[in-house]
Structures are given as C-alpha cells and as structure tokens.
C-alpha cells in the first residue's frame, strides 16, 4: 500500500502539541511524524522525543584537534629548527598558552559550525515537503500514512484544531 505525506497546519502551539499527543494515542509512531515551525520549540513543549544532536561532540572534537595543532605549532615547530635567542627558553610556556587558547577555540567553533551542517544535512537543495506558511509562524505537523488511513487522521486532526490538513508534495524550496 502506498504511503503519502500529509501536512496539518496549526497557528497555535497548544493544539499542535495536543494533536501530536492524540495522534500518538491513536497509534501513530513518533517516527511517522515530524514538526516544522518558524520558531524553535523544544521537545518537551511539543511532547516529542528529544532530537539527537552531535553538535556538542563535534565541538569537543574540534577543540581537541585545535589543541593538538596548537601544540604542534607552539612546541613542535621550535624543535624542528631550534633557534636559541639570548638565553631565552626555546619553548616558553606563557606565550604558548596564547596560541593554544586561540587555536583550541578556533577548532571548537569551526567544528560546531560544521556540526550544524553535518547534523542537519545542509546544504540540501532537493525537493522537500514544505509550505511558506511555516515561516509566517504556523506550526506544521508532517505525517506519513496510507491513503486508506488518511481520512481517519485528517478528521482527527481537524477536530483537534488544525487549520488545514492536506496531502503535501515535495517541492523545490
């Protein structure tokens, strides 16, 4: 049986959250639904499972790479070609701290930025289910179901305060 994607639009977060809870009670799985919105709503507000994000882990990884790079620059490179100046230490610790700090932070922030791209699969220019009303502040609940089941879900969502429930095609954004 072929499945289709439907979009229920809400102008208020409370009925949207209520509808999500009702859909779950009626047997729809969390994986079958997706919420899209023009402002960020946390998972507890919507009653949805917390989305997994690797951004903090990426940030830590980037910081580590930056730190190691700084160690190479501040400690490694003077040893590659030792130049002793006026009895000064070859590897002075306080100035090394500065390069280490800057490169660690740079690594962390670059990795954080990259993490958003990787986790969100940006850039993605293929057609996707979306309506411009979302950036006008509407909350959309996307769900997949078979055509036979669709009338049941659509009726339920309309009763729960959805402004509109309709099949939605993937469009070029």
């Amino acid at each position: 049986m072929s499945e289709k994607t439907f979009l229920a639009l809400f102008s208020d977060v409370n009925p949207a959250a209520e509808a999500i809870a009702q859909l779950r009670e009626m047997g729809m799985k969390d994986e079958q639904m997706q919420v899209i919105s023009g402002i960020p709503f946390t998972a507890p507000i919507l009653g949805r499972p917390h989305p997994r994000t690797n951004v903090p882990r990426m940030a830590m990884g980037g910081a580590l790479v930056g730190f190691l790079l700084a160690m190479f620059f501040a400690i490694g490179t003077p040893n590659l070609y030792p130049v002793y100046v006026g009895g000064q230490p070859l590897i002075p610790v306080p100035p090394s701290v500065i390069a280490t700090f800057e490169l660690t932070m740079l690594g962390m922030l670059l990795a954080t930025f990259l993490g958003v791209f990787l986790d969100s699969r940006f850039p993605s220019y293929r057609p996707m289910e979306y309506v411009p009303a979302i950036s006008d502040g509407k909350i959309g609940v996307l769900f997949r179901c078979t055509e036979e089941e669709s009338s049941r879900w659509m009726d339920a969502l309309q009763k729960l305060g959805a402004e509109s429930v309709s099949p939605v095609e993937a469009v070029q954004l």
């Binding site: 809400f10 102008s11 208020d12 977060v13 409370n14 997706q34 919420v35 899209i36 919105s37 023009g38 402002i39 960020p40 709503f41 946390t42 998972a43 507000i45 919507l46 949805r48 917390h50 989305p51 994000t53 951004v55 903090p56 620059f73 501040a74 490179t77 003077p78 590659l80 070609y81 130049v83 002075p92 100035p95 500065i98 390069a99 800057e102 490169l103 932070m105 740079l106 962390m108 922030l109 670059l110 954080t112 930025f113 993490g115 958003v116 791209f117 986790d119 969100s120 940006f122 850039p123 993605s124 220019y125 979306y130 411009p132 979302i134 950036s135 006008d136 502040g137 509407k138 954004l173």
Partner: protein, 477 residues
C-alpha cells in the same frame, strides 16, 4: 501559548501607573506574516537617495582606498607619515579602533544572549554585522601598515624555504591568530541565526533574490532537528566567543604593553583596551541603530526603549573606562619615572594636548553629563550624536596611545612629532567601505532577526499582581 503572541487585552486600562507596556516591542506583538513583510520591504524598497549615497561612498572607496593604496604600493611606505621615532601611526590607530568597534556585536549578541537580556533581540544582527565589517577594516589597516602587502602570506603558519616556521611566541603571531579566530567565529556566529531568516526571505522572493536566498538558506525548513542543532550551536558560540572577544583586544593591547616603553608598559592595558573596545562598540551600535530606524517599518522594531537600555549600558561602560584610564594614569604618574612623567606632560600640554583633553570630554564628560537623563537616552538622534562623539573620543584615545606616546622615548635626539600622510585618505576609505558594506548588506539580509523577535514576544506576557499588571518572561528552554 500562542505562536503569534496575543495582543494585550486589558492590561493598559488596569495599569494605573508607569509607561504603557505597548511601548515595548515585546509587548506589542504583530502577526509574523506582517513582520516578515516589513523586513522584506525594508530590503526591497530603496530610494534614489540610497543609491546616490552608495555611489558616492563607492567613489570614495575607489579613490581613497583602492587608488591611494595602489599608489602606496607603487611608491612605498614613505608616503605615510611614519618615521623615527613613531613607526606606528594611523594605520595601527585604525586597526585598534576597528577591532574595538567589532566588539559590540559579540557583546550585544553573545553576552546579552547568555545573560538572557531580552531587549537585545531586534538588533543583535545589526551589531553582529558591525563586528564582521569592522574586522574587515581592521584587517585592511594591518595590511596597509605592513607596507609590502604582497608578503603578508609570511604570517601564515607554514615553514619557509629554510624550514624555519613563524615564531608562535611573538605578539605579532598572537595578533594574527586572535584576529583570524575572531573574524571567522564572528562570521559563523552571524550566519547561524541568519539561516531561518534567509529561509523566510527565500519563501517571499523571486528572481535572483530567490536563487541567492535558496543557496544561502541551505534548504532550511525549521524541522525539530534543524532547530535543535542550530540552538545547540548558537549556545556553544555564545559562550565560546566571549573569551575569544576578550582575548582579541587583550592581545592587541599586549602589542603595546609587552614593550618596556614609557606609557605602554602597563599590566592593566588588557582590560583597559577591552573596556575601551566595548565603549566605542556600543556607541557605534547606537549610531547604526539610528540609521537602521530610518529604514521603512524599522521604527516598529527599533524603539526608544532600545536606545534607553543601550544608553544605560554606555553610561556604565563609560564609568568603567574612566576607572581603568585613571588606574593606568595614576600608577604611571605616581611612579615618578622621568621619561614617563615627560610623556604624560606631553600628552596633556604638548602640541596635541587638545586631543588628550577632547578624548576625556568625549569619553567621560559627554556620557556622564547626558546619559543619566532618561529623556536623552530615549531620543534617538541625541543618542546618535553621543555615539559619534564617543567614537571620536575613542579614536583619539588610540591616537594618544600610539603615535603620540611613541614621540617621547628615552632618546631625546629622536623626538619628532608624527604627521600622518597617506594614512588620512586611506582611513577615510576604510570608513567609507564600512558604511558601504553595511548599506549593501541592509538590502540583502534582514537586519532584524524576525524569528528571535517573535520568540521573544511569545515568552513575554503581563500578569496581574494586586491592582496592576507586571511583565513576566517565560523560560522556554
């Protein structure tokens, strides 16, 4: 909890005292579609005056920046006024000045975001843009100072033909690392919260704008995952970019403080420079907001309450600047070192003593005398004038620290007053480029983060306490 925040039904009629809450953007919600339309209109509708000013600025950039720089590259650094004993002149004054301006974006966007200060919402992007464009001007100023700009790649961390690496323990390399880190971080921090607004612009554009926004919005739809990743990243950025910001201007100050010169060798230069950067940066934000407010529909987003709040911050920062200035001054004055005493005397009573005096008037007297007054703080044009004066004062402060302080050293036979040459047109060129970039950016990206404003309006409400209504801010995260 409504997505489009509800208007206040009875609050005003019940509140018997105090200002109308609707004066505040957070308590004057409008439908998101309307706010989006206003943001788009501000980008689309451009008068001939705008393009006339842009063309004039482009001409200045072409002649004063591109032309003068090309001339200096051909003729050499001798066209600049730098010479013994002042080898550091207006180029470095401008570098420090523009890095200072760039601190406003991080301060307003990151620090106020971390502290959850709500009035920041409509103008975080205007401030972040200043950071990015200010750092670009600082970068140009450093390259000009180098003279042989075609050798600037020598700063890059890779070994030369003799396998000798740059010295990572040198203050100049710290500068390179710090400014590069800050510039890249600021650009990323500008872009991340911009993505949802670029998606909004994509949904409402056609033609080349549609294509541009489609590329820049990266396919953002506002899914739970996209928001989560974005929010997590913005939190990490907001916390991490603050120490980076502090480090940048501290390291710039160390370029001076690491030298055992009269007037420079000071352990307090780091925080003194940072607070100076915030002083000029905040003042510059106010000037920018004054002009942003003149754009169509922007009076809704940028209100007297914002100037009021920024005015209070400026007053506090001015006091902090005065504290650090006096702290630096008194220790040097009391120390009694002969050369330092002569330098301080030269600062105050030398041929450029008027600069020192004007610096104190602009940085201390003007804010202290005016910003305590609520009516002044809520008058945008007055605030813009104060902002310009503070920036004049802060530029003079850097001029006093760099070339004037270099004039007096421990070798009196080298004393000579610095007179800038080609630095003047180049400085004007960088200022024109900054304004031009800002004007062009205002036509390409929404200057107001609409989604952040709507989010703010959602979490604000009035609750009845006794006989009146008090503002309440809900915590969504």
């Amino acid at each position: 909890m409504a997505v489009a925040a509800k208007p206040l039904p009875h609050a005003h009629t019940h509140a018997t005292e105090g200002p109308d809450p609707r004066e505040s953007l957070m308590f004057d919600p409008r439908p998101r579609s309307l706010m989006n339309a206003w943001a788009m209109e501000a980008m689309h509708e451009t008068s001939w005056k705008f393009w006339a000013v842009a063309a004039f600025l482009a001409l200045i950039v072409l002649v004063f920046l591109v032309g003068a720089w090309a001339w200096m590259i051909m003729e050499g650094l001798g066209l600049a006024g730098v010479n013994r004993p002042a080898f550091w002149g207006v180029f470095l004054v401008n570098t420090v000045f523009w890095i200072g301006i760039s601190h406003a974006g991080t301060f307003i966007s990151a620090i106020l975001r971390v502290l959850k200060v709500e009035f920041r919402r409509p103008f975080t992007r205007a401030a972040e843009l200043m950071t990015a464009f200010g750092l670009i001007q600082a970068g140009f100023s450093i390259l000009m100072h180098m003279g042989r700009v075609w050798l600037s790649y020598w700063l890059l961390p890779y070994p030369n033909q003799r396998q000798l690496w740059p010295n990572f323990h040198s203050p100049l390399t710290w500068d390179f690392l710090a400014i590069t880190t800050y510039l890249l971080s600021s650009l990323m921090y500008l872009y991340l919260p911009l993505i949802p607004d670029l998606a909004m612009a994509r949904d409402r554009s056609s033609g080349w704008r549609k294509r541009l926004y489609r590329i820049l919005a990266l396919g953002f739809r506002g899914t739970e995952g996209e928001w989560e990743h974005l929010r997590k990243a913005m939190t990490i950025f907001a916390f991490a970019i603050i120490p980076v910001m502090f480090s940048v201007h501290t390291i710039v100050s160390w370029d001076f403080a690491m030298a055992t010169r009269p007037g420079w060798s000071s352990t307090i230069f780091g925080p003194y420079f940072v607070i100076g950067a915030l002083h000029s940066g905040m003042a510059a934000v106010v000037v920018v907001l004054f002009f942003v407010r003149r754009m169509k529909h922007m009076k809704y987003f940028v209100r007297p309450e914002h100037f009021d709040a920024l005015g209070k911050l400026m007053l506090v920062i001015s006091m902090a600047w005065a504290y650090f200035f006096f702290n630096d001054y008194i220790v040097q004055w009391y120390g009694g070192d002969k050369w330092t005493r002569m330098l301080l005397e030269y600062h105050e009573n030398g041929p450029l003593g008027w600069m020192w005096m004007l610096m104190l008037i602009c940085n201390v007297a003007v804010p202290w005398l005016l910003l305590w007054n609520r009516r002044v703080r809520r008058t945008p044009w007055l605030m813009a004038i104060i902002g310009i004066l503070i920036n004049v004062g802060m530029w003079l402060e850097r001029y006093v620290i760099v070339p004037i302080s270099l004039t007096i050293n421990r070798m009196p036979f080298t004393w000579r007053q610095y007179v800038p040459g080609i630095e003047i047109p180049l400085g004007i060129g960088t200022l024109a480029l900054f304004i031009l970039l800002y004007m062009l950016a205002s036509r390409l990206i929404p200057l107001v983060p609409i989604w952040e404003v709507q989010e703010g309006q959602m979490v604000h409400s009035l609750e009845r306490v006794g006989k009146t209504y008090v503002p309440v801010v809900k915590e969504l995260e």
